[in-house]
Symmetry: C2
């Protein structure tokens, strides 16, 4: 998704400056596989993008300093915003937590799409960001580029959110949607793996871990909770067979994997599990890899946002949203 | 909706201060029917709200200056934010345009829920606001408190919006939804009038004028167009009979009154009219008085927001959204 973002930045550089006053240079890239390059006046993104397309690496870039690891890139380059896009490890949050802590201690803003650090250490990290007077942004961790967190935190500020529930994982929603057509779980999972929707080891999706990370983020960031990963009841979709889906259909219902956060007295609770929704329910209508989130509120009733929940370009766009938000706030 | 907003402010005063740093006093209220009162240290909202409930007026308020008209209230009170909530006149934009111009010339921020001034004079008014270094906010003009404009302008900044389409009027959507149950237009309209959804003279809704005002606002504010009200093709729902609805049903389709804005070369175009949508279409699923807006984008595909499009409290909430946004930007 770093690449998806680089493509957006490259294509829209002029219009971003003109329309939003965003004037930037990408000065460094560090990737454990593709390589690392730093040029304090800014890298030529067009060159980088075509190198990656042709060679899968950025080592062939002419000029600049090569081979800085991620920590050195964060500390010793002149970047003032760090985009942390390492893959999620929901058990440890690493290497992202170390990257982010290092950036904050060096007075650099962080934008991340990695769910691990936000689900595991939101409070500590946002305190550290505040202490260092820098921003910690992570729109891409929930619903990819679809601005779900922005909606909950800014656009719906003051609305009184009682409950948030939604379809937070595209892979499982794709599988359930296809099973509605009478195809078996195994058959659809194989196809999803072939299409790149699901990993070879699909547990993060089908056992609900990915949705769970997002539930913790919504609970702690949007609803002010203090939940840990282990506080959330979690069930995936692996126990749902074709016969369950058929029997739900006969009751005019449809299975969806629902992530939920709600207030119970002074406590915030969360859960992930399959639910049989009435076919008229707005979340039941959300099909394929699309995600959706409904906010139940005091002042506005129900507000729902529907959009893509994954994809290189779609998640890359979340990085832009956060960058523009930092740019607006710094004015 | 000024009253809906006053209720929110009164109930949430402490939490708004604690959670968002919003510290305010309502110093003046001016209403051509309910009366006018000004107290430079702040009015007692609880007192005002119970007076309105009991007497329908605010004249009985103990203390303060009475009888200032709207212009005097804008100019001579110590208010620094003016909430303009007069009813929409889509032909002249008055008295709102005069109110807003007066406020800007006196260096006061304006928040309005009135579609007239934004549809008819967005460019002139926002230029005047910029010149005076004050904010011009109007979230409540489209989809009431559902943050549709915020989504288009801030949360989706940089996304590359190609087209916006949606269900922009709750009354007509309610009528069409009820007609799906086999009830006639006349019957449902009468009921909507009894419920207060539709006015005695229902043209603004059923002839598409209300949706048209919102289309002009979306075109000019979100898509940078320069459309006039008369540039938009407009058709209401009055020509749709039960037989049309039945025949659409038999094709698995459903009529919706759709407002649309799109890019055609370098031009922005807009229209309002009934469309037969496939029953699977996400907008076809939006029933009753609920509104919805879909953004078709370059970087994110389709993003849809669904929520209430009318209501005293729901529109009142838009005023709070804008007030919090001004508060955030002034930091």
């Amino acid at each position: 998704m770093g690449q998806g973002f680089a493509e957006i930045l490259h294509k829209q550089k002029d219009s971003l400056k003109k329309q939003y006053g965003l004037d930037f240079e990408v000065v460094a890239i560090s990737d454990p596989v593709k390589g690392s390059v730093y040029e304090e006046d800014g890298l030529k993104l067009e060159k980088i993008l075509s190198l990656v397309k042709e060679t899968g690496k950025i080592d062939g870039y002419a000029g600049g300093t090569k081979g800085l690891d991620s920590i050195k890139t964060i500390i010793s380059t002149n970047a003032n915003v760090i985009l942390e896009v390492s893959p999620t490890d929901i058990k440890t949050g690493e290497p992202a937590i170390t990257h982010i802590t290092t950036a904050f201690n060096n007075k650099k803003h962080v934008i991340t799409t990695n769910k691990g650090p936000v689900a595991l250490a939101y409070k500590e990290l946002s305190d550290l960001a505040n202490k260092n007077n820098v921003f910690f942004k992570f729109e891409g961790t929930v619903l990819a580029g679809t601005p779900a967190l922005n909606l909950g935190l800014e656009a719906l500020a003051g609305v009184g959110i009682k409950e948030i529930k939604g379809i937070l994982n595209g892979t499982t929603n794709y599988i359930l949607t296809e099973m509605e057509q009478g195809r078996t779980y195994e058959e659809v999972l194989k196809e999803a793996q072939r299409l790149g929707y699901a990993e070879a080891k699909p547990d993060a999706d089908v056992e609900g871990w990915d949705a769970l990370a997002k539930v913790v983020i919504l609970a702690n960031v949007v609803m002010g909770g203090d939940l840990k990963v282990e506080d959330i009841e979690r069930e995936g979709i692996t126990k749902i067979g074709l016969s369950d889906i058929e029997s739900a259909k006969s009751e005019n219902k449809r299975y969806k994997l629902i992530g939920k956060v709600w207030r119970e007295g002074s406590q915030i609770k969360g859960s992930v599990g399959p639910e049989k929704l009435d076919i008229q329910d707005s979340l039941a209508q959300v099909n394929g890899a699309t995600n959706a989130l409904t906010f139940m509120t005091n002042n506005l009733g129900e507000v729902t946002i529907i959009g893509p929940g994954a994809g290189k370009k779609e998640t890359g766009f979340a990085l832009l949203t956060d960058l523009l938000s930092i740019c607006r706030r710094k004015e």
